[in-house]
């Protein structure tokens, strides 16, 4: 209304907005739908992991840490399970880039990766920093198999 009919260009948009619902998603009470390919937090599947440590090497932020664990400290451990390792992911350092999933050799053999980015896991806020490091037990069944896969992958070049 600065000059006489200035309010006309926006009038359509403004009246439309007055008459329809708001686009705000009131987050804690309503939920946003997340697509399937969304890169959430990584999680390892202990059944498929062969502990080749490829993801640890390829991770750009070095947030994956695979350390051997003394079997004496575990309960319910039987020798047939394989050598145990703590597979820990530091979620506060992870940048959700999916390189671990791409570099996992299990994916090449069976098209299902041992470490996947779960698209449902993105509500990661916590109250203290210890919560951001997730640990899981994985077992290495045969060391030679892991080594051959690692060498094969290395010779094939950049992931």
């Amino acid at each position: 209304m600065v000059k006489i009919f200035d309010f006309i260009p926006l009038l359509k948009e403004v009246t439309k907005n007055l008459l329809r619902d708001t686009v705000t998603v009131q987050y804690p009470f309503e939920h946003v739908k997340v697509p399937d390919g969304f890169r959430g937090a990584p999680e390892v599947n202990p059944e498929l992991c062969i502990v080749c440590k490829n993801c640890e090497k390829e991770c750009p932020t070095q947030c994956i840490d695979i350390t051997p664990v003394n079997p004496a400290e575990l309960q319910n451990y039987s020798l047939g399970q394989g050598k145990p390792f703590w597979f820990s992911i530091n979620l506060s350092q992870c940048m959700f880039c999916q390189v671990c999933e791409e570099s996992c050799p299990v994916k090449r053999k069976s098209s299902q990766s041992a470490i996947t980015l779960n698209h449902e896991r993105w509500r990661l806020a916590g109250y203290n920093l210890e919560e951001t490091i997730e640990k899981k037990l994985v077992y290495q069944k045969s060391k030679e198999k892991s080594k051959t896969i690692t060498q094969e992958v290395e010779s094939n070049g950049i992931n």
């Binding site: 926006l10 403004v14 907005n17 708001t22």
Partner: protein, 381 residues
């Protein structure tokens, strides 16, 4: 619409009901003590308390409509109240190098001025709390003093942003005074008096003229409808000038938030900012009420007078009549505030030189022409 306490409309109605009952109760209780009634008049209704509650409500209303027009949700009903509470508990800092006297004393003075302007608003009868001959001019004088105080605050804060904001506010005030004055003078000429209550009672406003022509054709012939044209032009310019006084987009280069970080109130914090902010809200309420009074007929809707008068009389108060008057007053003020909000949504901020140019080159001649048209029509009819 669900009936529960979270629904803002239900909340609003319940708060309003409680408030009305408290006021009515306190007046009725002390109806035989004139001194106490006088104090209640100035502090409860239609005094400070009602004005505060009204301005908080209209602040919410404006922000809610603004948000809805942008497809957002907007604040909850008590948000302006929470803002005031928040400002009360913040630290009050006076920077180095400011002129301490002006800086500290002017925000409360602004609040007092704004309240004074709001006291003129007619709320339940045609007279406001204060009413005398020539009060329209006095109002404009108070607005000018307010603008001067804004400049002083901006200048005395030791900050180039403050200085720029203050000077812009002073320039804007200079430009808008004459159109605003002329906009108020038009209906005053028609009514033949400069007192607000007489202007309302004379019945020359945008709502009463068509009603008069329809319902009382023997006293008002059809040509009276021609008055609507200049009166609506003056109404339009009055709304725009009110926008400029209240420093709302498109006329707010004085405290442009994204350009000069707040302009004249950049160094105000805590209670001083509270007084400034409250002054702005109360001014909005008061100015919208006065514009509604002059151009839309003030409280009351005279075809309903015969129905509502005399229904519920206690002492010398005609309670039901007053109640309906207050409701119509609120409705008309809502219309004015709605227009102010629409112009805020739909336009962008002007630069100070563009503001000056628009007021002097475009609005002033238009309003002169409208005034001339009124005078001519008075002579003819």
């Amino acid at each position: 619409m669900k009936i529960s306490l979270t629904n803002p409309i239900i909340k609003l109605l319940s708060y309003a009901m409680i408030y009305v009952l408290v006021i009515a109760g306190s007046f009725l209780l002390f109806r035989n003590f004139p001194l106490i009634i006088l104090i209640f008049k100035y502090f409860l209704f239609p005094g400070i308390s009602f004005i505060l509650v009204g301005s908080l409500f209209y602040s919410w209303f404006e922000r809610k409509i603004y948000a809805r027009m942008q497809n957002r949700i907007g604040p909850p009903l008590l948000q302006p109240f929470y803002d005031i509470l928040k400002l009360l508990i913040k630290e009050d800092i006076t920077p180095d190098g400011v002129e301490r006297l002006e800086f500290n004393i002017i925000p409360p003075i602004q609040l007092i001025l704004a309240l004074l302007i709001a006291f003129f608003t007619p709320i339940y009868i045609a007279e406001g709390l204060i009413s005398f001959e020539g009060d329209v001019f006095f109002l404009l004088f108070l607005l000018a003093v307010l603008a001067g105080s804004i400049f002083l605050v901006g200048w005395s804060s030791n900050n180039p942003y403050g200085l720029i904001g203050g000077s812009r506010a002073a320039i804007a005030e200079l430009s808008l005074e004459i159109p605003l004055t002329l906009a108020f003078i038009g209906p005053a000429i028609l009514a033949g008096s400069l007192q607000l209550s007489n202007i309302i009672k004379s019945g020359y406003n945008l709502i009463d003229i068509p009603l008069n022509v329809i319902f009382k054709p023997e006293a008002y012939n059809l040509l009276n409808l021609l008055y609507i044209i200049p009166l609506s032009i003056q109404f339009y310019i009055a709304v725009l000038s009110a926008n400029a006084v209240l420093e709302k987009v498109p006329f707010d280069p004085a405290h442009a938030e994204t350009e000069i970080v707040g302009g004249w109130n950049v160094e105000l914090t805590g209670k001083k900012l509270l007084f400034s902010h409250l002054a702005n809200l109360i001014l909005e309420f008061g100015l919208a009420g006065i514009i509604a009074a002059i151009f839309l007929g003030g409280p009351g809707f005279w075809p309903l007078d015969s129905l509502t008068k005399g229904l519920l009389v206690i002492g010398s108060w005609d309670i039901f009549y007053y109640f309906i008057n207050v409701l119509t007053f609120l409705l008309k003020t809502t219309v004015v505030i709605f227009l102010i909000t629409v112009s805020r949504t739909v336009l962008s901020r002007l630069r100070i030189d563009q503001l000056v140019r628009y007021f002097w080159r475009y609005y002033l001649p238009i309003i002169f022409l409208a005034l001339l048209m009124i005078i001519y029509l008075i002579g003819v009819l």
